[in-house]
């Protein structure tokens, strides 16, 4: 009997990988289809990011840098939508750009169009899309004197200073640069965010919050701990937390239940794998 139990436990470690894929699929799909919700505590770093946005006054300018592509959109796009919802609710002026990958601009425009429409915001009056310029450090340093050094026109090809929003936010000197930016929001899937912090925060003192894919989140915790960034949204959980603080229920909140189910499944599989290994040792 003991032998049979040990053999059964050992066999658990030899589950066909296709069964594991099927289980992962079910653990992901069922909570999404059933629209299951679970309460989640909000992380302090997301609360801090939310407060940094919340402190801004109507008319203040935020610069959003969408440095990601479709491959990381399930994590970063809900962040963008939640932050834009917050910004438009507070009547902030939004500038959007990217300098990492062109696809980031497409994702950014998609998010802007969706949320701006919801709040009845107008292009050129409430928000502007600067466009895409590669070059990371060169772009950042170039923007420090005048954004028009790098983005002489917007994404539509019209001169930046031809828009009423530009005249409003550039102030009396007619020059738009980092001094006019009250908060920089970096949505990052790679190294570009490090440069925002190391150059634009360290050199020009622009306050910033970061929304990062989960892979690079541990790296950004060091910047949060050192107070170089005011807040951090890490992965899908960060986006879900921000949605919770805003009181909205978007893709991130929905996806976190699947995330939870898959994590439980992975832990269970690791446990079974180890149990199977112990059983194998016993038998041999």
């Amino acid at each position: 009997m003991k032998e049979r139990i040990l053999a059964f436990i050992e066999n658990l470690g030899r589950i066909d990988s296709r069964i594991v894929y099927a289980l992962v699929f079910l653990a992901t799909a069922i909570p999404l289809i059933m629209n299951i919700r679970i309460p989640m505590p909000v992380s302090p770093e997301v609360k801090s990011a939310f407060q940094a946005m919340d402190r801004l006054k109507p008319g203040d300018v935020i610069l959003i840098s969408t440095d990601y592509g479709p491959s990381s959109a399930p994590e970063t796009q809900p962040m963008l939508e939640a932050i834009l919802t917050h910004a438009f609710k507070k009547d902030l002026k939004v500038l959007l750009m990217t300098h990492w990958r062109f696809e980031g601009l497409i994702m950014g425009i998609q998010g802007l169009d969706k949320i701006a429409k919801k709040f009845g915001k107008e292009y050129g009056k409430d928000y502007l899309v600067l466009g895409y310029r590669p070059g990371v450090t060169a772009v950042m340093i170039g923007m420090s004197k005048d954004f028009r050094n790098i983005f002489s026109t917007d994404n539509e090809g019209k001169p930046l200073d031809s828009y009423p929003m530009y005249k409003e936010i550039a102030g009396d000197d007619g020059i738009l640069n980092y001094k006019d930016i009250k908060l920089l929001v970096g949505l990052e899937a790679g190294d570009a965010g490090n440069f925002w912090i190391m150059i634009v925060n360290a050199r020009y003192g622009v306050p910033m919050i970061m929304g990062t894919t989960a892979v690079i989140t541990p790296e950004y915790f060091t910047f949060y701990q050192s107070r170089q960034i005011e807040g951090l949204l890490g992965g899908l959980k960060g986006a879900a937390d921000y949605e919770a603080l805003l009181g909205i229920s978007g893709f991130a909140s929905r996806g976190m239940v699947s995330q939870f189910a898959v994590h439980v499944l992975i832990i269970l599989l690791i446990f079974l794998g180890n149990l199977s290994d112990i059983a194998r040792r016993f038998r041999s």
Binding site: A29, E75, G234, R254
Partner: protein, 217 residues
């Protein structure tokens, strides 16, 4: 109608890529090749259209003499880079060394900026953030423990990479502590990586069951 076609094409491409889970197959290979080809073409067109051409156009037509000259220098440097192309090995093999000039320029500028920003924007603020008072008047026990973990973690991890002296006796315990801290860091980074990959899967499955199959309420 176009949206519908787009959703069906995207669903087919997603399923074709996921079919690799059951082994390599011609459908997967076909879609993989489409992805590589489309990405390369897209990247080239975007770079030319969004970065190279506007830069040249603006630099040449500007009234600012300084900008005009620097644009011509940049164009000249760009042309020199072309000497690195494979075809130049057949046309002018003795001239490929010319491409080293723009590479040296970019390396020099990149290193200069990298060193300054690295020290000013990363190392200094991080070192300052480590100089923590372990205990102050209103510090809670959790904060004290957190500060201690940070200080002990930084010092022991740094010492783990100190190889100029044999790590014996009591020093070995510092090394072991450093190793444990590093392992915990790797573990947390790996946990986040799993979360990231699962999020991507959720995104794709949500697309399939929502936009394609309309199963989501």
């Amino acid at each position: 109608m176009m949206d519908l076609i787009g959703v069906w094409v995207a669903a087919f491409l997603t399923l074709a890529i996921l079919s690799f889970l059951f082994g390599d197959n011609p459908v997967y290979k076909f879609v993989e090749h489409i992805f590589v080809g489309a990405s390369a073409a897209f990247g080239i067109i975007v770079m030319l259209n969004q970065a190279v051409w506007p830069f040249i156009q603006e630099g040449i037509t500007t009234q600012d003499m300084f900008l005009k000259i620097t644009t011509y220098i940049a164009i000249f440097m760009g042309i020199l880079t072309l000497f690195r192309l494979e075809i130049m090995n057949y046309i002018a093999p003795t001239l490929t060394w010319i491409s080293r000039f723009p590479i040296a320029f970019v390396t020099g500028v990149g290193t200069g900026i990298g060193i300054v920003t690295g020290i000013h924007g990363y190392i200094f603020p991080q070192v300052v953030a480590t100089f923590l008072p372990i205990m102050e008047n209103n510090t809670s026990i959790i904060e004290i423990a957190s500060n201690l973990v940070l200080i002990v973690g930084v010092l022991s991890s740094l010492y783990y990479f100190y190889f100029s002296m044999e790590q014996r006796g009591a020093l070995r315990w510092i090394v072991k502590t450093g190793m444990i801290i590093i392992m915990i860091t790797f573990g947390s980074a790996f946990g986040y990586t799993i979360m990231a990959r699962v999020s991507l899967l959720i995104g794709r499955i949500y697309f399939l069951i929502s936009d394609w199959l309309h199963l989501v309420r």
